[in-house]
Symmetry: C2
Subunit: 274 residues, 2 copies
């Protein structure tokens, strides 16, 4: 097998399995090649992806040395994605009754949520989380993609406790969007006390759901080490949680309004994350 072939296959295998560690020996066996050749191939693969900002290949030296692919969306690609979502959101046909906006097509678009997941992964990469947590339904795709990019399990909180979830813990919380008390429940089997979670959701108004998830996780002594939402509304200004990372801000939706005010979070990659 030639060098180009090995490098191409290494890029394909690593980038399809983000954050999954591979030993050098795995590739030596796969290509029947010496460790020195594989090391060179991996260096080449690393330079290719880094040069085009298509991802980072991390290597650790020594006897137990290995290699893994870390997703890395460029600032340019990230801003292009956010501009694309904003443009879609400005379509006035999206306005529903009650100040709601139709967003299901965007939240169920695999290409959009995959790239959004790459942004969340880049932001929360160093939080040493044990899971990604979301609440059904529209946040599941973006949370799944974030979990995939970070090679973490996804935990989905249900609105109702289901027999298929086994024993659950439930809480009631006040949802500002629906203006009523809602319930959420988590399967005891899904989580381990003392662990760390990233919360990902599609939309946040006052933050009642996120606060509820955080409270419920703390019942298991699980720490919320990061919160990402695709869209955060600018109103109310006072939120129930302080520390959250939105991709897009949405102004108040007026049913008779002429425009939908929506703009990207221009600080998605501040210096400390680079």
């Amino acid at each position: 097998m030639k060098r180009t072939e090995r490098v191409g296959a290494i890029i394909r295998i690593l980038s399809e399995n983000p954050c999954k560690p591979y030993s050098l020996g795995y590739f030596c066996d796969l290509f029947s090649a010496a460790k020195s050749s594989i090391s060179e191939d991996i260096q080449t693969a690393k330079q290719i992806l880094a040069g085009m900002e298509l991802g980072i290949i991390e290597t650790t030296a020594g006897a137990g040395g290995g290699v893994r692919y870390v997703p890395h969306i460029s600032e340019k690609d990230a801003m292009e994605l956010l501009d694309h979502i904003c443009e879609k959101l400005r379509d006035k046909n999206r306005i529903l009754g009650g100040g709601f906006l139709y967003t299901s097509d965007l939240m169920f678009d695999s290409n959009i949520v995959k790239r959004a997941g790459e942004i969340f992964a880049r932001r929360f990469m160093h939080q040493n989380a044990d899971y990604v947590v979301t609440i059904e339904t529209k946040g599941i795709p973006v949370a799944l993609m974030t979990a995939h990019m970070l090679n973490l399990p996804l935990v989905v909180i249900r609105r109702e406790s289901k027999i298929s979830e086994g024993s659950t813990v439930s809480i009631n919380y006040f949802s500002g969007s629906t203006e009523r008390i809602q319930k959420m429940s988590i399967s005891k089997r899904a989580v381990t006390p003392g662990s760390r979670a990233i919360i990902i959701d599609d939309f946040m108004r006052a933050g009642g759901s996120i606060k509820g998830i955080s409270d419920m996780l703390s019942e298991f002594e699980i720490e919320n080490v990061g919160t990402g939402v695709v869209i955060a509304s600018t109103e109310p200004q006072k939120k129930k949680i302080q520390d959250y990372f939105p991709l897009i801000y949405l102004g108040p939706v007026d049913e008779n309004g002429k425009t939908i005010e929506v703009f990207p979070n221009s600080l998605i990659f501040c210096k400390k994350d680079l």
Copy 2:
């Protein structure tokens, strides 16, 4: 830029965007290279992926000629995945009351559902579908990954009609699993009359949900051109739908039983699909 670098980058870009067509010109511009060089690079990329059964690169010749990556999970990798899921399912701690089995961890495991999505994509690739359709909640991850592999939109049917879905159409159906009448609703905005859909779900017992989805789609003159489920129970033998494609069969779950009877569909890739 050297040949190896171009081939590596082409593999990365195409394989991250399954079934998305790219023009040769796109890569000419990206690498400032001549069409003849890019054509050769693509041929090399194609041979690398084909040789290792990591995917298929399809090219169309002529002035509007282009290239796309078609996912292709090998029969060996597919069977390994199914064996892995079966092994996990045989854990007796999964047995819940009422003959249910805990499967949420598997259905929310991004690596498992991604590969299952590749199997469904390979099976339904030539159905010329316009969407992948599922019903909340546990089928969403595998349906999303299937949609991603086929570059199709995902449509998620809700249990209750939500204001954030706009106008909806609802039906009542009999669910054998819960032994009661349930409701499902679909957003009118999500679908176009006269189109074609693939239905993907996590679990099927008698097929009531799938039949319900199919009936609801036919209200919009949408044809069901394929149905895939991750797990199908062997009981009842008589299903409400005839044509479905399961990855795994599950025997009756006896709460006091010593074993969980589960086995892979050994005919996942019959000759006609190759």
